[in-house]
Symmetry: C2
Subunit: 539 residues, 2 copies
């Protein structure tokens, strides 16, 4: 009963029992590449052999700098199954932060997408520990470069042996992967995932009461593979023998909908902005989505209008979830329990919009200065989490002390618990609006605005206020054809007045062409505050 929980067992299982199931990758050239798990397993062992020959050892950090495709998946296993550590680098970080995370992790080998190599090459002079660059692409030739020790992935594999054997006695607490998460101030913070954590997270994804990932699924993670393990879906898919669709670079809603229709995707996962764009495209150019059994949506709050459109118009369950880099990431999902089956569609959508029920195996507490808050759906506090796939520190970082206390992760997210034990996120600690000593949830206001028929997207931020300390300002992107005039503004304010206490209603509405977003599609409120600088000065 002490057999270790390690990732190499996933590769072995896929190769043995699902040798013909496919990994389907869209390439940069917009063609489709298919390899079966039989081939994947061989290539994964070859990659391990090739990187070992380049000097990879137990504990070596190998960085990856790429989109979602089969080679990145091979690295997901070929690196950690040997005892080395895959550091998935967020390609959308600033150049300074990219250099920082590579240096801080002490990556010795970098696996880089061919079309991202020019970008990374510019940073090479800043990189202190990198000894080898491996270009992930179809070509066996390396591109013209001044760098030394550049290799072509396919050329390395050609020379490597698929007889490489992964150690079976690896300690399950061995680090397997790393991601860095952006900090409010300062450099990104590193999170380490162990084999044990990733294996248990994979079990959770397969539970009927969670995502229910299964062999018969055709799963398409739209979350980048450099962002919290693409929510763990690539790992779990290998475990269960699930067909994977990896959508490659340059994602847009047309491409995603084409892939869903052509490959008969059954389940997909991504952030709300992705699904808003997909919905708009689907309304204009409908595809056949009959294969889809569910959409998982997380990363930030999902507007109810979005949930309603998927559930009612498209007949697709739209399941909101919660997680973060520090949590591998799955913490909770808005699944419906048996006693919710008889609810009206409106009531169900209300529940779908919550962050939902905590996963079996994890514990959550929402705490304020008085301890754990009552489950009343009203009292706000900071969400804390613990469990076997929750990080217990930031990698070599003093900021560990701020977030990890007494075995609990302090998430920095403000939440309430409903009386039936579902998590509802109210805001990031730093995005809460403090008006007259009371808290206003910017997320609640945004979600309400986004249910209005004229609104495409909305973000609410705090503006300084002499009397009240802070007051909410709404930044709104209207749907096509809508006009951002005083009449619309008044209509939106009246709409809000019907739903909230008067002091919650934003003081003003500003119409924008777009709302700045983070690399993973979340509203970038810090940038929005900068953009609204003129408004601030006016106040």
């Amino acid at each position: 009963m002490q057999t270790p929980l390690i990732l190499s067992s996933f590769v072995k299982r896929a190769e043995q029992f699902f040798p013909n199931k496919l990994i389907i990758s869209r390439t940069a050239e917009d063609t489709i590449h298919r390899i079966p798990y039989r081939e994947f397993a061989k290539r994964t062992r070859k990659l391990a052999d090739a990187l070992t020959k380049l000097g990879m050892k137990h504990g070596t950090k190998v960085g990856s700098f790429g989109w979602n495709h089969h080679r990145h998946l091979e690295a997901y296993f070929g690196v950690p199954c040997t005892g080395a550590i895959l550091h998935m680098i967020n390609i959308r970080l600033s150049p300074e932060h990219i250099a920082y995370v590579i240096n801080h992790a002490e990556d010795e080998i970098l696996l880089v997408d061919d079309n991202l190599f020019p970008h990374l090459q510019q940073l090479a002079p800043m990189l202190k520990t990198v000894k080898h660059y491996v270009i992930m692409g179809d070509s066996k030739e390396i591109p013209p470069t001044n760098l030394e020790n550049v290799h072509a992935y396919e050329a390395l594999l050609e020379e490597a042996s698929d007889a490489f054997e992964f150690p079976e006695d690896l300690d399950e607490n061995t680090p397997a992967g790393m991601c860095y998460t952006s900090a409010t101030t300062g450099n990104p913070k590193g999170v380490v995932y162990t084999h044990r954590g990733l294996v248990l997270h994979s079990y959770a994804l397969g539970l009927s009461d969670a995502m229910g990932l299964r062999e018969s699924d055709i799963a398409m993670p739209v979350v980048p593979m450099f962002h919290v393990n693409a929510w763990g879906i690539p790992f779990a898919s290998v475990f269960f023998g699930t067909t994977q669709v990896l959508p490659g670079p340059g994602l847009n809603p047309q491409i995603l909908l084409d892939l869903i229709e052509q490959e008969k995707v059954t389940v997909s996962a991504g952030v709300p902005t992705i699904w808003l764009a997909v919905l708009r495209e689907q309304e204009q150019n409908p595809r056949d989505l009959s294969s889809v059994r569910g959409i998982i949506c997380g990363g930030s709050a999902s507007p109810k209008g979005l949930i309603r459109a998927f559930e009612e118009k498209l007949g697709i369950p739209f399941i909101v979830g919660y997680g973060m880099t520090e949590t591998s990431p799955l913490v909770s999902l808005s699944v419906l329990t048996a006693d919710m089956e008889d609810l009206s569609m409106d009531e169900k959508i209300d529940i779908r919009a919550l962050q939902g029920l905590v996963m079996p195996g994890l514990e959550i507490r929402v705490v304020n200065e008085n301890g754990e808050v009552p489950w009343d759906g009203k009292t706000m506090g900071e969400l804390t989490v613990r469990g076997p796939w929750i990080a217990s520190e930031y990698y070599k970082d003093e900021r560990t002390a701020e977030a990890f206390k007494d075995g609990w992760l302090y998430t920095g997210d403000i939440a309430v618990m409903t009386d039936f034990g579902y998590l509802k996120l109210m805001d990031r600690t730093k995005d809460l609006i403090k008006s007259g000593g009371e808290w206003i949830s910017s997320v609640d206001l945004e979600n309400a605005l986004m249910t209005h028929e004229a609104v495409f997207e909305a973000a609410v931020i705090a503006i300084p206020h002499e009397q009240w300390q802070e007051r909410p300002l709404a930044c709104v992107v209207l749907k096509e054809g809508q006009i951002g005039n005083d009449e619309t503004k008044q209509a939106l304010l009246s709409y809000m007045e019907g739903q909230f206490a008067k002091w919650w209603v934003p003081d003003d509405i500003v119409f924008l062409d777009e709302i700045p977003k983070t690399s993973v599609g979340k509203f970038l409120k810090a940038a929005l505050r900068n953009q609204m600088d003129a408004y601030y000065q006016r106040v």
Copy 2:
């Protein structure tokens, strides 16, 4: 990520998130008792408090001697969550073996069903380590007895505190439970389950690709709670907040079908003899089974006629599985993969009759003297298993060396692997028939016989043979109204000749009124061989 995998987290989860979901028990008086998880959790802590006051400490063995009901479920958690060990005693063992297992495990406290107490009391003089008897029943009074230190469960709970706290820092490798399994010769052999093993086994039961146990299920384990943790269903049900129906003592098909209909059971699990009897009763007195989404069947091979009747006549998926006491027990299930969906019903039933696909997290190998056998559906070998919920030894028993080698459990079961990687059990090592140097599978012959319309049950055993060493003899129980004459015998032999090589066809058929069975409904071939003594002497 090192949060321990321990059973107390299940109780906490059920109490927090599913306080109103029910544990439904049928009592010895044939009434129905319902308690919600909120109450269950309190009573479980009270039980822990009460037993601690009786002297239970970390590592203390507490025996249970009872049927499936809520008090037994309370013991499933109240004992191990403190760090003590619940030894689930098979009440159907011989008196000598019952005394042996209690003495060997060194049980200090025994929890005994009120209606089983008279039986156990007679054995008391043989028990060397027992200090306290606790009678599980509704009464707070103890029955008349000469024994000292007899307590009523409900009286103990009345005095106990629900403020008892389970330790949160228990090592996950702490033993939680014990079961003994019958041996071919000698005393039963003890198997220890750790918290870690039981938690991981519970995750496996919840996977969509396994049993898919979920919150919305109403699960009825027909397997006794003294037999391999009732296949782990009670543990997993608490984890997922699943409604449980515990059918109590004196199981018969009428009672089971009434419970399914009244309580709207969605999933149940038991051995083939149970489902054969249920099927016969359902054909005579149909109940509404529309709530049932699946039947799990294991313990011995399932006749195809049984599978067909459930799948075709009743429209209920009938999923055959494989496991044993040493494996917690779930090893494999005959789930259908995506590429099997287009098969004909006949082909699907062929697959359902296999022992199926190994669970994610486990590894199996079928080995003979040449190493691992090819996956050709023909070459037989002994099934070996390893993984995080597979035992690694027999408790304080020299026979460990026979079954556990190089980290693998040698199951003593003879199997083949199909070319698509599904396990097919052929026989117990000791039940294989060796004819002229070749192996004949008694299970294959039995299953074929049981598809014949005249046959209710069939068991095939080896009889000594001068020329061929051994030859098969079929022992057949006919359906009601069928006559066991020469004509029937010839019809059955012809039926077999159409399906098997000539040398596989049994030399003779004997008609019996019943086939002796083990305490868990498996054919008791040793007893059958004794019963056929006259036949043996004739040879």
